[in-house]
Symmetry: C2
Subunit: 204 residues, 2 copies
């Protein structure tokens, strides 16, 4: 994007888009669970179309990407796992230790993340673990890409409150060997993951 994004722009965008995106997450959920009659579904549909027309009247032709504010902050607002403006993202709020060797996130997954009845889809578990393991390999301005990822499903993951944690096992040049677990609300491991993440060589 050519226009500079000031800290004030960031604050204003967050003030309006964060609550809208949260309402959209709730709308995704009630669309799945609603038992209202057809005339009400049609009425809701018309409102959704109106909202889409308003927001769609002036659009970036490209995906959001990762933009940088003038104060150096990166804004991954479209990201499917953590994006503030992406209603698919739970969103993950990743806490990292100072050395960047550990990452953890608490989250609640509702009806919209279901696979088998009452359970989180195995692929959503994979998405969350991929993101957390990858987060241990990210360095400022040097995102890491997944090289390989292996998931072992040791128990069903119930919908509801979950925790995900990941840590660096070892590093070898631009390669990070990471491990992590998805845990249910009782702290039991449901999925274990190992992965290799690669930071492309910086351009000089």
């Amino acid at each position: 994007m050519s226009e500079p994004i000031t800290p004030e722009d960031v604050q204003r965008a967050q003030a309006v888009f964060e609550p809208l995106t949260q309402s959209l997450r709730e709308l995704i959920d009630v669309t799945i669970r609603s038992r209202v009659d057809e005339s009400e579904v049609r009425r809701a549909h018309a409102l959704i179309q109106q909202a889409g027309e308003i927001l769609g009247s002036r659009l970036d032709p490209v995906p959001f990407g990762v933009r940088t504010a003038t104060d150096g902050r990166t804004l991954p607002w479209g990201n499917v796992a953590i994006g503030m403006r992406n209603a698919i993202a739970p969103p993950l709020r990743v806490d990292r230790d100072e050395a960047g060797q550990r990452a953890v996130a608490d989250l609640v997954l509702g009806a919209a993340y279901e696979g088998p009845p009452g359970l989180v889809h195995g692929g959503v578990c994979a998405l969350i673990l991929d993101h957390l393991l990858g987060a241990t390999a990210h360095r400022p301005d040097r995102p890491a890409f997944t090289g390989t990822l292996t998931l072992r499903y040791v128990a069903p993951t119930p919908l509801g409150r979950l925790r995900v944690e990941a840590w660096v096992e070892r590093e070898d040049g631009g390669k990070t060997f990471a491990e992590g677990n998805l845990l249910d609300s009782q702290g039991r491991v449901t999925v274990h993951a190992t992965g290799i993440f690669i930071r492309p060589v910086a351009k000089t």
Copy 2:
């Protein structure tokens, strides 16, 4: 659910919820890419809240699960990968061969599935492959659960038109050893996956 779902109920629900969910997918996309000013974002937000109140006025207390119509059809409408009523789902439309040994799906992923700029999030690739490999292991009334899944990312996956395909390598009792690929619009493999899927022993 105690109330029987007739084929007419299925048809009526599809007629109203399928287009609403499609509009919701478009709304997720434009929420990420919109450049309208704050007053318009607020106006759209109010409409989204109204839609949520209408649909949320009568709710199932539980996730959708997999319901069965009186004609025997299963309705995985809340599923995060394939659900007709789940706006997170692209949705995948999986074609299987008659023997159930191969599964394929064509899909288009837009801004809402982004990880690195312009690319599909590695975790979304994992979700899609998990679902397709799992689909080769499903049998009527006997869903399969992911045991292990290994993903090898061989090239970046660009947003846009993609194909995913999976096949059974071998079966051993209730275990299915499956493989699959995610391919870009040029037919190049971007992610290769292998997995073991387990059908729990049927209750007698």
